[in-house]
Amino acid sequence: MAEQTVIEAVRQTMLAEMKRDDSVIVLGEDVGSRGGVFLATDGLVEEFGENRVIDTPLAESSICGVALGAAVNGMRPIAEIQFADFVWPAINQLVGEASKVRYGTNGVKNAPMTVRVPYGGGVRGGLYHSQSIEVLFAHTPGLSVVAPATPYDAKGLLVSAIRSNDPVIVLEHKRTYRLVKGDVPEENYSIPIGNAEIKRPGSDLSIFTYGLMLHYSLQAAEMAAASGLNVEVVDLRTLRPLDEETIAESASRTGKALIIQEDTPAVSISSEVAAIIGEKCFFDLDGPITRLGPPEIPPMPFSPVQEAAFMPSPEKILDAINKLAQI
């Protein structure tokens, strides 16, 4: 078993899947000889050639539209959006079209496409390299949205995405790419879409989170343990469909739910998790369903000081843990 970063797990997984299945292709900006802006596709064009590793124009609508066309015609394209911040021109291809292929053709056609979308902030990326864009996709029936936060999950979920017969948006947090290292088995495995995982069991309260915030939450939970609090951390991993069973079981067991996200809270993943807990766990709750996210302002600020103020941090999460725990 090799220790890998998230980005290395992504690259190795695509390499393996392309070897395994000739219909898997990669397309996106600079994915060829440049190897991708994050080097996720480094070496792939040398291995599989320009017919399967396609450098595209700087046009996300085209990347996703081409991928969709290839998908409904039997390929398994992996489209790379260079930064989530630039995915908006492709909304029509993804939300408007790809999500509806199976339903709209009465099951005659389907779109087995994967869209890898590096997202998230805390990377001094400013307004256009920091965005969290998950809500629009997670709101859309017909799309699956996964957000792995560890190298192991990155491989397992990317395998499931590539092999899925319907479109899957794979959200990869940029900050985790080289920040998080972990063991990744060399053998083939996959993680089912729609399965959350309790990354840290606890009994006093449950944190529900995903992406970079998983790691901040785990740090905060460790800090809270020093003062005797036993905090459970649930990694949502899939944002659509949410794993309602795991969410409800954890919230019911601990009686207190804290939802952490990097995205602004209004009408977001945390809203939906809160609704699930409210619906399924009412008589087990011993405190208000609590959410922690950044302030409701349009972008991630560029100034390092303001960026730090905007982003949830382990310290802010610890503060939220303590407040909810003592209620």
């Binding site: 008589f283 087990d284 003592q326 209620i327």
Partner: protein, 438 residues
């Protein structure tokens, strides 16, 4: 027929009336332009909805009118609507408010292609059962929440395990009772749920369904104890003289009056007089006020079959011992035979309970609600007592009796209670074998 200002767009609610293109009396064909209107989105001409004659212009030029309001009347050849009353003037400010608020009209075409929308705002769409009566658990939770803001899980656990949340000391924020606190209470055996092991009757137990009288007594006692802050005081009375008086007068009394001479009418006579001189003892707390009773009507506790009854001896003050004895005999007989009249049980202002007849030497009686006090006369016991005669202490054998007063502390303080007890004591102790008692 009425001509209404048509709805022109999804966000437009009102329009300003421009130039009227037709005048009252003009002949108009269907779709002829009638009037120019100006909205914040478009300016347009309102076409005539029918052919006929314009009768009356209601919305004047320059007036702001809500969509749907009547702007004119016409005599229409193809209309079925009734003409509005001539001269009726629809002020724009009186137009229906819902247009401003916006209402959802089920089934109206709103989409660009005329698609209908489904009003989900009212909706029980699930196949839920028509009754939505709360379950026991949620009902209990509701009750508890009102009292103290208990969380759902705390309410549910408390209901499940029969925990009285008000008895639990919370360790949460501001003393909130947490889930852990309830679980700890369950662990500690705080369970007192009906049907829990501690209270489930075993097979050896006998279950008695209380009689209506028993239930009434129970309710009455609970009411008294929960409403009235009881306080208690007791005093010893030397009844040697009274015992002697009774022994001396008994035969003649019974021969004359035809009723037995017990100690009850004697003490009752003294008590009634003491009530007159201590009116606060003969009172009642009613609606936050103290009502001093005009009459002294003494309820006498009587053990009858089926339970306690307290017939009333009315106007006991100033009544002779003989008459008191007759009255007592009368009500007691009726009480024991179950033939009491309403009069027999109504109007009591104070209760006297001769618990001494049963050998009791001390008692803390429950006040007969809504009275202010109850007095028990305890058993008469011969005891060695220190008496002072001519400055010399000596131990003598005396007949002694305790009298115990329970009183409503809202009305009566200890000093007043003691004063009353002293009054009864001195009244009884004043009796000697030679007393001329009436």
């Amino acid at each position: 027929m009425n001509i209404e200002l048509p709805h022109v767009g999804e966000s437009v609610t009102e329009a300003v009336i421009g130039k009227w293109l037709k005048s009252p009396g003009d002949r108009v064909e269907k779709y002829d332009p009638l009037v120019e209107v100006v909205t914040d989105k478009v300016n347009m001409e309102v076409p005539s909805p029918a052919s006929g004659t314009l009768i009356n212009i209601i919305a004047k030029e320059g007036e702001t009118v809500l969509m749907g309001a009547v702007i004119a009347e016409m005599d229409s050849e193809d209309a079925s609507g009734e003409p509005a009353t001539p001269g009726s003037n629809v002020e724009s400010t009186q137009s229906p408010a819902p247009n401003r608020i916006g209402t959802l009209v089920q089934g109206s075409n709103v989409g660009p292609t005329g698609g209908e929308f489904l009003d989900t705002s009212l909706g029980v769409t699930e196949t839920s059962s028509p009754t939505s009566t709360p379950t026991t658990a949620s009902g209990a939770a509701n009750g508890s929440r009102k009292q103290k803001g208990f969380s759902p899980v705390v309410s549910r656990l408390a209901a499940q395990h029969g925990i009285d949340l008000l008895t639990i000391t919370g360790t949460g924020l501001g003393g909130r009772v947490t889930k852990k606190d309830v679980l700890a209470a369950v662990e500690n055996g705080g369970s007192s749920a009906p049907g829990s092991a501690a209270h489930r009757p075993s097979e050896e137990d006998t279950i008695i369904e209380p009689s209506p009288i028993r239930k009434m007594i129970a309710d009455h006692m609970v009411k008294s104890m929960s409403e009235i802050p009881h306080a208690w005081s007791a005093i010893e009375v030397d009844v040697t003289g009274m015992v002697k008086w009774r022994a001396q007068n008994r035969q003649e009394f019974e021969a004359t009056n035809g009723v037995k001479l017990t100690y009850l009418p004697i003490t009752l006579s003294v008590v009634a007089n003491s009530l007159v001189s201590n009116p606060r003892i003969n009172s009642s707390w009613q609606d936050g006020k103290i009502v001093l009773k005009g009459d002294v009507n003494v309820s006498v506790a009587v053990a009858a079959e089926g339970g306690l009854v307290v017939p009333v001896v009315h106007k006991a003050a100033g009544t002779s011992i003989a008459d008191l004895a007759k009255k007592i005999a009368g009500v007691v007989t009726r009480a024991r035979s179950g033939s009491m009249s309403l009069e027999d049980v109504q109007g009591g202002t104070f209760t006297l309970n001769n618990t001494g007849a049963l050998g009791s030497v001390w008692g803390g009686a429950i006040i007969n609600h809504p009275q202010a006090a109850i007095l028990t006369t305890e058993a008469i016991v011969k005891r060695p007592v220190v008496v002072v005669a001519n400055g010399i202490d000596s131990v003598v054998i005396r007949s002694m009796m305790n009298i115990c007063l329970s009183f409503d502390h809202r009305i009566i303080d200890g000093a007043e209670a003691s004063e009353f007890l002293q009054s009864v004591k001195s009244g009884i102790e004043a009796i000697t074998a030679q007393s001329e008692l009436k």
